[in-house]
């Protein structure tokens, strides 16, 4: 019976849920593309992190350098108005005033501790009768490097507490580089207050303004969050500082120390194939066409002996992996399936019959991830330069391979893919047992997060001196590996 129907319906019924097996090579391609996307994602994460670290470090470096320059400028300003006999440094007075609350007094700004200044703001001063007092009534705090020298500013730490507040404020005060009128302290004046009296005045002041007026020096109330309007004049500068460079390890005191590193990071292998035999030139090109490099990784631990502050002897255990992709597409593949039957005749002789049970034509796809792992003992010499909490070192040396494993496949000279994994079925070993000697160079940038703890980033390059293949193989295969190591260093002191 003939039925007429709309072709849309007929085809929809037949084709909407139709299924046709896709070619075999689609899934490996999908898998590879997904893997690449994942790697790209990780790459950007690493890059963003690295960029952030480098940006922060540069900012910190520049900021530190600016502060040093500012303090150096202060130190070199000619000042002639202060003398020890008739004046006392206002900062010293400030420390004395705040004695009940002072927990740390450290004079810096001297050549021994140049990195003192973090920021500075002009300070306006309000004169009150309490501004002057007798210097001799104070216990002298600054004796040695804190002693005010003529023409030199004094920098001191002050922990200060405002009335009505239990919060402690840390401040650094530079004094002495100001006009004489505002700092010169006279003899017993109209109030003649002593340190304890002044401190009492501060603590008994009802407002912040009163407390400020009590001080024999001026400071910027903005540093303490107070909102005060003060008359013009910039006699002093108060510099707030969080901490000194306590996070730097003092290599001057310990010029010879041991350090230990742990690191890991991405790496990338560079391969060079070569042959001296022109007959194998075509084979070499086919090898180049079927193998491509891929991302891998490196990791290791390393011991370092610092010598005379700047020279280093380094050794350790380094693992390096190289990854390649072997991919062969043969569009004219012929696959013949032959079944062999072995029987025995009456005399017990074997009779083997070969029976061709199938021949298939089509595209053949073969893919393999080739991985080469190397465990090495590196030995390097280095030179290190530091500035503040950061620095860099340059290293060069050799590494000795102690273990070389490999797995994967390659195209043999007959144009057939073969596995080279040692110990496997139908494998053809074409690589040496060890890779031998490698030359290594690296540049490390580091940053002290603690006095004895560093973080670092270290780009490196390694060249394996000898080809890694057996001499019997017609193609020479050399490798160089570039990468970056991210890690931490512990100073063992």
């Amino acid at each position: 019976m003939e039925q007429y129907s709309n072709i849309d319906d007929l085809l929809r019924k037949r084709l909407y849920d139709a299924a046709t097996p896709p070619p075999d090579f689609v899934w490996p391609n999908v898998e590879q593309a997904l893997r690449k996307k994942r790697r790209r994602f990780l790459f950007w994460i690493f890059s963003a992190f690295g960029t952030a670290v480098v940006t922060f470090s540069i900012w910190f470096w520049l900021n530190n350098s600016t502060a040093n320059h500012r303090l150096a400028t202060l130190n070199t300003q000619p000042q002639t108005t202060l003398t020890q006999t008739e004046t006392i440094n206002a900062a010293a007075a400030a420390d004395n005033i705040a004695t009940p609350q002072v927990t740390e007094n450290q004079a810096i700004g001297t050549p021994e501790t140049p990195n003192a200044v973090r920021s500075e703001l002009p300070v306006q001063r309000t004169r009150t009768p309490h501004n002057t007092f007798q210097a001799s009534s104070h216990p002298v705090v600054y004796q040695n490097k804190n002693t005010p020298e003529q023409g030199r500013p004094i920098v001191s730490n002050l922990k200060f507490q405002m009335p009505g507040s239990s919060e402690n404020h840390n401040s650094r005060i530079i004094s002495g580089a100001a006009d004489p009128e505002s700092v010169q302290l006279k003899s017993i004046d109209n109030q003649g207050l002593t340190t304890s009296e002044l401190a009492l005045n501060i603590s008994s002041a009802s407002t912040q303004q009163d407390a400020l007026n009590t001080l024999p020096f001026s400071f910027n109330p903005l540093l303490f969050g107070a909102k005060l309007t003060q008359p013009a004049g910039v006699p002093f500068k108060i510099i707030r500082r969080k901490k000194a460079n306590k996070l730097c390890y003092d290599f001057g005191k310990h010029p010879n120390v041991w350090m230990v590193d742990a690191y890991a990071g991405p790496s990338f292998a560079f391969k060079e194939l070569s042959t001296n035999n022109p007959e194998f030139q075509h084979y070499l090109e086919r090898r180049q066409g079927t193998e491509r490099r891929d991302w891998a990784f490196n990791a290791g631990i390393r011991g370092t002996l610092m010598l005379e502050q700047h020279f280093m002897l380094r050794f350790g255990l380094h693992y390096e992996q190289m990854t390649e992709v072997f991919e062969l597409i043969d569009p004219k593949s012929i696959n013949v399936v032959v079944n062999y039957h072995t029987t025995y005749d009456a005399n017990g002789n074997p009779i083997t019959v070969a029976d061709t049970i199938g021949v298939s034509y089509g595209e053949k796809y073969f893919k393999s991830y080739n991985r080469f792992g190397m465990l090495d003992i590196p030995l390097q010499l280095g030179v290190e330069l530091r500035k503040g909490r950061m620095g860099f070192n340059i290293n060069a040396g050799f590494s000795f391979n102690i273990w070389f494993w490999k797995q994967g496949a390659y195209l043999n000279p007959a144009g057939i893919p073969r596995y080279f994994t040692p110990g496997g079925k139908n494998t053809t070993e074409i690589f040496r047992t060890r890779t031998g000697l490698s030359a290594i160079g690296s540049v490390q940038w580091f940053y002290h997060v603690q006095p004895k703890l560093r973080i670092f980033a270290e780009p490196y390059f390694r060249q394996i001196v000898q080809p890694v293949n057996l001499q019997s193989h017609p193609i020479g295969q050399r490798y160089g590996v570039g990468g970056i190591r991210f890690g931490i260093t512990k100073i063992l002191d």
Partner: protein
């Protein structure tokens, strides 16, 4: 599932055959269909979290494949044949004629359609999109979509009849 190669493989194996048939209907050649399938599954795995659990999962994957096929065509700058607004009568076709053909033969038949006919026929007749949706997705007029469908139907009917009358 997004990060698990095992589950990704399972999902691929579950839907690859059906989706490859979809791709074959839109593609010019089997190689193009394989490319579309590959690109489509990469999108599926990377945009898996965008699946809202509204409608069938298979439908969501199918939609991705269709969109990928359309983008593939747009990249190749195919152009619709210029047509008028004529409405051709729908051609009846013998059901036995279609029933006697294998899926592969039917797919080959559709593959031989001109590009413009093929896309509109697949989207409207097989996938069930409206002409308005097709016009929106392809950036053409609705009238163009209708005329392309009509011409595709006539072409297919002629081909089916011809094949049916051919001696086996």
């Amino acid at each position: 599932m997004r990060g698990s190669a095992q589950y990704q493989r399972q999902l691929y194996e579950q839907f690859a055959s059906k989706m490859y048939a979809v791709c074959l209907r839109y593609a010019r050649t089997p190689a193009d269909a394989a490319d579309i399938l590959q690109e489509g599954f990469i999108k599926v795995f990377t945009k898996l979290e965008q699946y809202q659990f509204q409608g069938s999962f298979e439908g969501w994957i199918r939609r991705i494949m269709v969109n990928t096929a359309l983008r593939n065509y747009q990249r190749q700058r195919f152009e619709f044949e210029s047509t008028g607004h004529e409405r051709l009568p729908e051609m009846p076709v013998e059901a036995d004629a279609v029933a006697g053909m294998s899926e592969r033969e039917l797919l080959n038949l559709i593959a031989r359609l001109p590009d413009g006919y093929k896309i509109v026929f697949n989207m409207v007749a097989i996938e069930g999109f409206s002409h308005a949706e097709v016009a929106d997705m392809l950036g053409i007029q609705e009238s163009t979509s209708r005329s392309q469908l009509t011409k595709a139907r006539r072409w297919l009917c002629e081909q089916v009849e011809t094949l049916h009358k051919m001696p086996q």
